[in-house]
Subunit: 385 residues, 2 copies
Amino acid sequence: MTRIYLDNASTTPVAPEIVAEMMPFFEERFGNASSIHAYGQVARNALELAREELAKEIGAKPSEVFFASSGTEADNLAIKGVAFAFLGKPIHIISSALEHKAVLESLEWLRKKFGVAIDFVAHDANGRLDLDDLKRKIRPNETRLISIMHANNELGNINPIKDIAAIAKAHGVLFHCDAVQSAGKLPLNVEELGADLMTISGHKFHAPKGIGAIYVRTGTPMESLLHGGTHERNRRASTENVAFGVALAKALKLANACLDETNARVLSLRNAFLDALRNEGVPFALNGDQENCLPHILNLSFPIPPSRKLASDVLLLALDAEGVAVSNGSACASGAEKPSHVLLALGKSEPEAKASARVSFSKFNALDEVAEAARRFANALKRLL
Amino acid sequence: MTRIYLDNASTTPVAPEIVAEMMPFFEERFGNASSIHAYGQVARNALELAREELAKEIGAKPSEVFFASSGTEADNLAIKGVAFAFLGKPIHIISSALEHKAVLESLEWLRKKFGVAIDFVAHDANGRLDLDDLKRKIRPNETRLISIMHANNELGNINPIKDIAAIAKAHGVLFHCDAVQSAGKLPLNVEELGADLMTISGHKFHAPKGIGAIYVRTGTPMESLLHGGTHERNRRASTENVAFGVALAKALKLANACLDETNARVLSLRNAFLDALRNEGVPFALNGDQENCLPHILNLSFPIPPSRKLASDVLLLALDAEGVAVSNGSACASGAEKPSHVLLALGKSEPEAKASARVSFSKFNALDEVAEAARRFANALKRLL
């Protein structure tokens, strides 16, 4: 049985041209970028070129771009780094219950350990944020940070980032945007978006797992998470992973160069999948904001009777047995055996959340696999509906 | 001019067999190890096998081994993680002024931000630690952690870890051992060493830059640095870098399999280099404890007259111009334009510290390069002495 991978929002294969780009830095140009000798300078030059490329892709200055080991690290750095910078003063942070766990768990840790006050902006049943509620929740001289993702990793919802940034700015509050799921899918320009901090992760757009980056606007107060050497302008100590830094920049550059083309292609895959599901007679409902969403993510609920008492992963395992790889919320939360916190936050019941699947496409998917995947969905669901 | 790389304590090239080991995980076995479908399970299995291998190499249980993105991250996690676990109580940590900056700067940050009390154990002019002083500095119900490196990255000094661990244990204090420089050079068995926490970094023994690991003894109180998903048994959130985890385990396994052979070889390179230096008539003194030291690290001082007023990097740049790559202390501290904090802590003056070089060998160095390097040292020093 040929396996079909439709879990590209969890991770993507590294593109061959990205592998080729990073290969020289393992054996040949292996120097420590912090060494002052020729081996070090070769590595340093490659890393700084990558930083410049990355900065250009997001409309930032190179001095505002810092490599990190993942989107999770970058999110942690943004949130804890800003909170630690204000330690000793009242600290209030506004986010959303629909954020990635890297944001939510960082906030929860700050709340528990340091008494940081956390509020979540209200949203409707489709996950659309209530910006009036956001405004109301801002506390003068206490709210230090608003952290809202560019696009939701489970639903695909694209949030009104410019409006949120404008609200933050008007109140003198810093704004962090988790752009992990949108990078390589939507244009990312920190000036247009108005972000003070923005995080991305390479493995969502065909760079390897183990590399991310954070944009930090000049002058933004932020403590480091990793102390040690003077790497990354003292923002992030650690011997630089030059190979992956180069891969990250190249991958974003490649993705941005074909943004419209790729998006049109994955949108057609998405629509073909939905058509095929309908043709197979599979009943489903779409979750999330269908007006403003990423083209590559579908979040589907199936009317599996609550009497079935599904364990969280039953639907996924049934699909996996059919050779179709999809997910149920974020891979980062799997193993937790809990239904998606995002779907629960939208007001779904546990059985409803468990009877849902996220299907996500990439440019490497083919039209015929998508039709075949819909047939396999029909097979798997036959036994569950 | 053929370049000669004698800075293997800063970083090493990735070995070809390690590159081969990790390659399948970029394009083919690219799944997210936290995904429950087949793609995820292939990645998960590889990662857990790597964890088992790594655990076996250090005499730990697989459940006590956690991957991290670097030795610096692992050091930060050990030190801040333990400190955060005791937050709200008096916290006193004992370390040494000779530690790596990842340890020292983590401690300094804890001191500045959270009022954690820090003490450094006394040492002699060769960097040998005074264990009676260590005992005296332990404060009942306040000292939470002792952090001492296995072997010094600048001098090569091997510390009496078993004795230090015994002192820590007798006083009910946790013991963290930074084994970044000794991993792959000395046998590392957490039971024999008596460490509660131990950190290693792959790029010091021919794995790539961007991967490290931390050993955490079962039951050790330690907060996480990175929050988010349930990865690494809730100890370190982040999509797992399977390729590099596999590389790390394989690299340590390979290094340990040829420990004696490699050490004999680099020791002969080291001795040949010293002989050649003497034959060239280069005056030098050896820094550090020559009785207990790693075979691959030399720390040399040259009697450059203080009137020369060397900038910190002049000696290294003169050697680089001769095509020899060595360092002046840790690469992690370079760019700081400051002389080595380790040599200063040994009581050397700034001019003396600046007139020093760390020369470090690996199995990839050849005997003839080492002799040639000594000739180039003589050339470079001619202009400075």
